[in-house]
């Protein structure tokens, strides 16, 4: 089963090695450089530790400030050119500002509610790449329901006339977060239900994600506010 088949007809997601790790290292290093505004710490694990003691508002400020890291989306895509072009060709609409996402350990932390990417208004032909800046040794990563289970949830809610309602938000998920290694990326379609769980660790999780679609495929609600034209 090739990548397109895995993502469209199979599980709906795939974990793959990043093709150009040197390039991805640059992305991680540039992130550390941007963090120098907040701390002089240059070791990623130390940064992760410092982040666990930041307040929610400091974390929010940090994530907003990282929106100006507008080369991140191109660097991530350029690190995975074959993956991107095999799914969407080499002329794509690429998310302008990649998300640098933190997941903090402990209860009562901000976390990604279970959701499908489609809910944000991206097209059904948009794919998502998500890569951590370090090994995921604990449960700080993201869990993914496979395509069949995700679609069952969509159908169940659809019959009730709701989307992303209590059935999804309050469900007890048995799925464990995917334990990616540094240098791996997970690619998934916008109907895959995913989210975080509370986890115990001394370190925050840091990852980068980006969305893209072929320019030959239709857009939904996202336009130039979110995507830019990019040649892979």
């Amino acid at each position: 089963m090739n990548l397109q088949e895995q993502i469209v007809s199979g599980k709906g997601y795939a974990i793959l090695p990043i093709e150009n790790l040197d390039n991805f290292n640059k992305l991680r290093d540039q992130f550390i450089e941007k963090m120098q505004l907040y701390t002089k710490e240059k070791k990623l694990d130390k940064l992760r530790m410092i982040m666990t003691s930041m307040s929610k508002s400091q974390i929010n400020d940090l994530m907003v400030s990282l929106l100006s890291f507008d080369q991140a989306s191109e660097i991530l895509v350029d690190s995975c050119k074959n993956i991107v072009s095999s799914l969407s060709g080499d002329r794509i609409f690429l998310q302008r500002r990649a998300n640098i996402i933190f997941n903090l350990p402990g209860e009562d932390q901000r976390r990604q509610w279970p959701h499908y990417e489609l809910m944000s208004g991206v097209s059904p032909f948009t794919y998502i790449m998500w890569a951590p800046f370090h090994d995921l040794d604990d449960d700080g990563g993201v869990f993914y329901l496979d395509q069949n289970k995700s679609f069952e949830m969509i159908q169940e809610e659809h019959q009730k006339g709701i989307v992303n309602g209590p059935a999804i938000l309050n469900k007890e998920y048995n799925e464990k977060p995917a334990k990616l290694k540094y240098g791996e990326v997970i690619v998934f379609n916008p109907f895959i239900l995913h989210g975080n769980i509370n986890f115990k660790s001394n370190l925050a999780r840091i990852a980068c994600s980006v969305r893209f679609q072929s320019i030959q495929k239709p857009l939904l609600q996202k336009d130039t506010d979110y995507f830019k034209f990019y040649k892979v």
Partner: protein, 142 residues
Amino acid sequence: MSVATVTTDINIGPFKIPSNGQNMIMNNYAQRKNIKVEFVIPEPMTSNQLATTQWCHKDYRFTKVILCSIHQLPKEENNLNDLINNMSEVEFHFALEGISGKGKNFLLDCLSEVKAFLNAEKLDSSKTDWIELYNLFKSKNL
């Protein structure tokens, strides 16, 4: 240094943004970029040439102009050329896209991007549902 924000018609490419919403978007952008806004230029409803902005520029010599989106640029070649010629030294900022620059090449690149998006097929989210979108994803990708 003189900086202006520009509000335009509510219909901005694919977006519908009332002028108070436009002001919020541009002022938030200016705040994040530490830019002090001195002028607020209201372009008339349905106008798509940024002509008022160009007339005001003659008197106030703007250094920076902030707009909500690249979709507010004039789309007709003659109108865009007027803007390029009259305001070549002005730095344009587009808040939603988060991009800025000045001069002919920058503005032509922006317009080229606008056209790429205008030419893209669009799905009408008000006339579909999740199941239909899922089926479309499956059928059009096989």
